[in-house]
């Protein structure tokens, strides 16, 4: 599904990603761990096409096609979703309107008809239940005044609504209380199918108790320095990252 080959990327002329290689197949869950500032969020930004970052070398293939030159909304239409580490507030724009605009634009770029109002409301209700989200939140403006945990839940709610092929969850577990982690993880697991895949960026082993990864990668100084299975996460929890640094 996703193939990243020797990816180099920089921001404001500073190189952050220094040759990332990663392959994610359908049905797989990958975890990416690594020290602060190692480039995890940058990798997520580059995959999703954030124009603040520049690809200086290498290629990102999605379902066999290079997406290097696609606009972020085109990548979204291909089925790539990012749960932001720091979700953005959009004052005055209700979640309902935002989601409707989002779904309809995604549908449009796939040549589908807009969603009907009743279908949309039904979908909202169903997905809110799935992740046990407070009904009030969707009537409020996008992330405005949401608590840290509510913002993260709201990201997963959007993921549930949009049903992406590839979901990248950037530290979605940070700031969530223990119950919320379980709920969110539960949601992610329920949304899992043999046809989609996810990349979980996290600092904590705990999330991986709930969502069992097929692979765990360690990103350090812009490169993947180690790949293993879920045992690697346990090892990291115990030993930290120093032993991996060259």
């Amino acid at each position: 599904m996703l193939q990243i080959k020797n990816l180099h990327a920089s921001v404001n002329g500073k190189e952050i990603l220094k040759g990332v290689n990663l392959t994610v197949n359908k049905g797989e869950v990958h975890a990416i761990m690594g020290p602060n500032g190692s480039g995890k969020s940058t990798l997520a930004s580059v995959i999703t096409g954030n124009p603040a970052f520049e690809i200086t070398k290498g290629e990102i293939l999605f379902e066999g096609k290079s997406i290097n030159d696609l606009a972020p909304e085109e990548r979204a239409a291909e089925g790539i979703f990012l749960s932001f580490q720091y979700p953005i507030e959009i004052p005055g724009v209700s979640m309902v309107n935002f989601m409707r605009a989002s779904i309809n634009d995604l549908r449009k770029s796939r040549g589908e008809e807009p969603i009907s109002a009743s279908e949309f409301l039904k979908l909202m209700r169903k997905k809110k239940e799935l992740i046990e989200m407070d009904s009030q939140l969707t009537n409020r403006s996008v992330n405005e005044g949401f608590s840290g945990g509510e913002k993260k839940k709201n990201e997963i709610f959007q993921m549930a609504m949009l049903d992406p092929k590839l979901a990248i969850l950037d530290e979605t577990d940070s700031g969530l209380d223990i119950d919320a982690i379980r709920v969110v993880a539960n949601g992610v697991n329920k949304l899992k199918t043999p046809d989609n895949a996810s990349i979980l960026i996290t600092h904590y082993q705990r999330l991986l108790d709930y969502i069992i990864p097929d692979f765990v990668h360690v990103l350090s100084d812009g490169k993947i320095v180690k790949t293993g299975d879920k045992e690697l996460a346990l090892e990291l929890e115990e030993k930290g990252y120093d032993w991996l640094k060259g």
């Binding site: 124009p51 004052p91 724009v93 309902v96 309107n97 959007q158």
Partner: protein, 478 residues
């Protein structure tokens, strides 16, 4: 309410830029006393009206165009335009007598003049060039004692009311444009709500400029008697032309004891093309008088059109415990210029005013808020809160805020807050990541920014206004 409105963007062009091909009675360009006599004669006006016009004209001759606004107004030749243009088939008695071409025009603009087709709960006075074409639901309203008709009709049928209230809020010599309007005004709307009556539907005037090289000078007068209520809407469009068109209107509102008047405008005159050619010069004087105790006036405006806008809907809070509100969204793109705001004059005791202004600038446009809050010496316990926000799209446009405060009573509490912000790249990327392209994202973010004002508008207008905001800003980012 806004949540129920589907966010959508239609087309990027000024879709009202067509002209209607009808026979027009237009007088030759130029302005002098004979022209004024001619206008008055064409309208079959009583002598007092002609005297009023001539007095205004003589006043105007002594005045000069104001230049304090933050606007770059090219020399305008007042002798080069025609001061009276009217569709030839005049004063229809029933809909059958209205030129079908005109009906089609208003239909195309989304303003049906056939009552059975009309938007529910809205009475419309349609004004094309200088003349009122048709006022709907007059009979229904008359049963409640409400008068809603064209200004010309009011001059003929209700001369005492017109004489009693006309110019009591905006004096002839108030400013250059009010004097000009008083001399040459051609038509407009008149509304009178009797004591204790709650007007059951929105009253609406729809202005349309059609004839080339003509000015449009309408007058609106609204009188709300004790304890009455009315909500009034104003919309406007003009064809796309290379030359500039002049529009100088006057709106006067009088609210008696405990009366409430809400006046909403969606101003969408042709703004000129993206290089700054053509467009309407919109120089408007709007003022409300809270005459009685506990009276209330609110102005809500969404200003997206015109090449130049010069407009300060104001309130005089004369009655004790009266209150006034001004809610404004002004958008400028390309070469548009807007200098708009309000004046709140506190005279009575315990008066309150609230100002909320949201400016949005894009392209190489300039957008200024200019507001005056004056508290007179005897205005005990006056209260004002002003919030003026500016949103910038790009770095070639300008936003300016000019708040003036003149407080002569120590018990007054006057507060002013101002912010300037830009749409952040993070917000755009967040929308993009959810599949929303940048142009739509801007529309969405801007509508969110303006929401507090938009939600003050009646439903149909709010939908239209949301679309307009998005359309006005298309092509402003990239």
């Amino acid at each position: 309410m806004s949540d129920e409105i589907l966010y959508e963007v239609t087309s990027s062009e000024y879709k009202y830029g067509f002209t209607t091909d009808i026979e027009t009675d237009i007088i030759p360009p130029g302005l002098n006393e004979d022209v004024i006599r001619l206008i008055s004669k064409k309208k079959n006006e009583p002598d007092w009206m002609l005297e009023y016009r001539l007095k205004a004209y003589r006043t105007w001759l002594k005045m000069e165009m104001p230049n304090w606004a933050y606007l770059n107004i090219p020399e305008f030749d007042y002798q080069a335009i025609s001061y009276f243009a009217a569709p030839k088939k005049n004063a229809p008695k029933s809909l059958d007598e209205v030129d079908p071409e005109l009906l089609r025009t208003f239909e195309k603009l989304g303003i049906p003049l056939e009552e059975q087709k009309a938007l529910s709960g809205m009475a419309v006075d349609a004004v094309m060039d200088s003349v009122s074409i048709k006022t709907t639901f007059q009979d229904t309203l008359a049963e409640m004692g409400i008068i809603f008709c064209s200004f010309s009709e009011a001059v003929q049928k209700h001369p005492d009311l017109v004489q009693k209230y006309m110019s009591t809020v905006v004096p002839i010599g108030d400013n250059f444009f009010s004097a000009l309007n008083s001399a040459v005004f051609s038509d407009g709307s008149f509304a009178y709500i009797p004591k204790g009556v709650r007007c059951p539907m929105e009253l609406s005037t729809y202005f349309r400029i059609n004839a080339a090289n003509s000015g449009q000078f309408e007058r609106t007068l609204i009188v709300a008697e004790e304890g009455s209520y009315v909500s009034y809407l104003e919309g406007c469009t003009a064809p796309q032309r290379d030359e500039n068109q002049l529009h100088a209107a006057i709106v006067e509102i009088v609210a008696m004891k405990d009366a409430e008047v809400k006046y909403s405008t969606v101003q969408n005159w042709y703004p000129g093309d993206k290089d700054g050619n053509g467009g309407v010069y919109n120089f408007v004087t709007k003022r409300g008088l809270c005459k009685g105790e506990g009276s209330r006036i609110s102005w809500t405006q969404v200003e997206t059109g015109s090449a130049i806008t010069w407009k300060y809907p104001s309130c005089i809070l004369m009655g004790d415990n009266s209150s006034a509100e001004f809610y404004s969204v002004a958008v400028t793109n390309h070469h548009q210029q807007a200098d708009t705001g309000t004046k709140m004059i506190h005279i009575g005791k315990n008066t309150t005013s609230h100002i909320l202004s949201k400016g949005i600038s894009a392209g190489v446009s300039n957008n200024s808020y200019r507001g005056l809050v004056r508290v007179n010496p005897k205005a005990e316990n006056a209260r004002n809160f002003s919030q003026c926000d500016s949103l910038l799209l790009g770095d070639k446009c300008g936003a300016h805020t000019f708040p003036y405060m003149e407080v002569s009573n120590d018990s007054a509490i006057v507060e002013h807050e101002a912010t300037t912000s830009k749409i952040s790249e993070d917000q755009i990327f967040y929308c993009n990541q959810r599949g929303i392209d940048t142009e739509k994202a801007v529309g969405l973010i801007v509508n969110g920014y303006a929401k507090e004002v938009l939600k003050k508008l009646p439903m149909e207008f709010a939908v239209e206004a949301q679309k307009l905001l998005a359309i006005t800003l298309e092509g402003s980012v990239g």
